[in-house]
């Protein structure tokens, strides 16, 4: 089953940069789909279309559709608040909000109107366990989140997204600033998460793409060069440019 259908999506930023050019892509549910490619390929731009975070930046022109569960989320009538609860996002740099660890996790739920302490506590524990950080922070939930290490902060950020019980999780180079051990923990958490969530990951290296991908798409300068379900893109790339990139001969 495809969770997300991207249909001839194009996007041009206010300064004229064509960041996405006629991208069409079907993203299967409950799997990790990896979007990879060199810098400036439009991967982050594509992710920000899925939860309408591009609303915050100046976009000159965009066209095409993004269907999530059959509904075009680019439609101006879309309830973006509900959309963002359903489509969570983890950013490259871990950004914890200036409050306690618990506060970070309950922030979104409280905004959604949840006030019952038991429900909040339950969500805190569940999401911290899913993000593989419960054991490290369970005794210090009321301390400021900023006191955690970068790797821990990033998993708190992942937990903050999971606390809202989204259906789709977008991760934009979530491990680019982390050491190999923290990276391993995040990747292991993702492997668990994909049983219940649709995950789209922009990896920080081709190696990570290969390690984590169930399906992979290769982006180059705003174009989707190649998409293959499964690992085919790494073992048997059809496009010359993809082959050059995955074998490290790109340039």
């Amino acid at each position: 089953m495809d969770k997300i259908l991207i249909d001839s999506l194009s996007l041009q930023y206010a300064d004229g940069t064509e960041s996405l050019r006629n991208v069409s892509l079907a993203i299967p549910e409950k799997a990790i789909t990896v979007l990879f490619g060199p810098a400036g390929g439009g991967k982050s731009t594509l992710l920000r279309c899925l939860n309408r975070l591009n609303d915050l930046t100046e976009v000159r022109a965009s066209s095409g559709k993004v269907l999530i569960d059959g509904e075009n989320v680019l439609d101006p009538k879309t309830d973006v608040i509900a959309l963002r609860r359903k489509v969570g996002m983890v950013f490259a740099r871990p950004v914890v909000l200036p409050m306690s660890i618990r506060g970070n996790l309950t922030y979104g739920l409280e905004l959604a109107g949840e006030t019952r302490r038991s429900r909040l506590d339950e969500a805190v524990e569940r999401s911290l366990r899913l993000a593989a950080i419960w054991d490290e922070v369970k005794d210090r939930l009321d301390e400021p989140a900023i006191a955690l290490s970068g790797g821990q902060q990033q998993r708190v950020c992942l937990a903050r997204v999971l606390a809202l019980q989204p259906e789709i999780v977008l991760l934009d180079e979530p491990t680019s600033g982390l050491d190999p051990i923290s990276t391993g923990k995040v990747e292991a958490a993702l492997q668990e998460l994909k049983k219940d969530y649709t995950i789209i990951l922009v990896p920080h290296s081709v190696q990570q793409a290969g390690r984590t991908a169930d399906h992979a798409a290769f982006f180059l300068q705003g174009e989707l060069v190649e998409f293959q379900p499964g690992h085919g893109i790494f073992t048997n790339p059809r496009d010359k440019r993809t082959e050059d990139y995955v074998t490290g001969r790109f340039g």
């Binding site: 915050l56 950013f91 909000l97 200036p98 905004l111």
Partner: protein, 268 residues
């Protein structure tokens, strides 16, 4: 290696020494003045002085009306200028698009902060006292001081709001917060110390100004507590100012100094 590190050490020490001397030069006169005045005239501050009314063309008696008047004025100014100033800062920093029009508004605000207070005083006299017929009153003076304080509060608060990292806003929005929820729960909380600095700076300026009050609310310097309107607000003040100019030294005795200081704290 060894040589260069010891040279660096020396430069470091010279720099540190120079800074210490400069800091001392700046602070010493202030502490010295305060101690000198306290030493020679500390005995002149009394309960009667703080709680009494001025007598003798303001050359004797107490300063209660000035204290109470300053209090009313500051509170009045805060009521008008703080909510409006913070709201304007929020609009400018969080909602207003960055175009020629908003840039013009920002420049105007910064320039307004630098206008001499006497100009605000005359403006308040024209608008509030005469045109809107508020008379010389706490209301007119508070409004005038509010207008004078607003630019300071707006520009400092806007600066404080802008210094809150953009990433906090993005993250908050991405977990389903509205813009206003983000501002209220994250941005304002983070910017609060900076905003308070702006509010204090602004109100300090308001509490210490003479010129605008001179035109719009000098009633407080009557030898009575401010109630409604005053019959002769100006003469007292002007007598006071001119008497000080005419006999600067012969009237200035050391045991009067703390009183003068208090006058100034309340007046300037």
């Amino acid at each position: 290696m060894n040589h260069s590190s010891s040279t660096r050490n020396l430069i470091q020490r010279i720099g540190f020494g120079a800074l210490s001397v400069l800091a001392f030069v700046t602070v010493a006169p202030i502490i010295g003045t305060a101690l000198y005045i306290l030493w020679h005239g500390g005995s002149a501050i009394s309960w009667e002085f703080l709680s009494g009314f001025p007598r003798d063309g303001m050359r004797a008696g107490g300063i209660l009306p000035a204290i109470v008047g300053t209090f009313y004025l500051t509170v009045g100014t805060a009521i008008f200028s703080v909510p409006l100033g913070i709201a304007a800062a929020i609009y400018l920093s969080e909602y207003a698009p960055d175009n020629r029009w908003t840039r013009l508004i920002r420049i105007a605000i910064i320039n307004l902060a630098g206008i001499p207070s006497v100009v605000y005083g005359l403006f308040g006299l024209g608008l509030f006292v005469i045109f809107l017929k508020f008379g010389t009153s706490i209301l007119a003076a508070s409004l005038t001081l509010s207008i004078m304080t607003l630019p300071v509060i707006i520009s400092t608060s806007e600066e404080a709001l802008r210094s809150v990292p953009q990433a906090f806003r993005t993250v908050s929005i991405s977990v389903g917060a509205t813009r206003w929820q983000t501002i209220r729960r994250i941005v304002l909380k983070e910017a609060l110390p900076g905003i308070l600095t702006g509010v204090i700076l602004g109100l300090e300026r308001a509490a210490g100004e003479t010129a605008p009050i001179l035109f719009t609310g000098a009633a407080f310097f009557l030898p009575q507590l401010p109630n409604s309107h005053s019959t002769r607000p100006w003469p007292c003040l002007i007598t006071f100012l001119s008497s000080r100019r005419k006999y600067p030294t012969c009237r200035f005795k050391f045991n009067m100094a703390p009183r003068w200081c208090c006058w100034f704290l309340c007046w300037e």
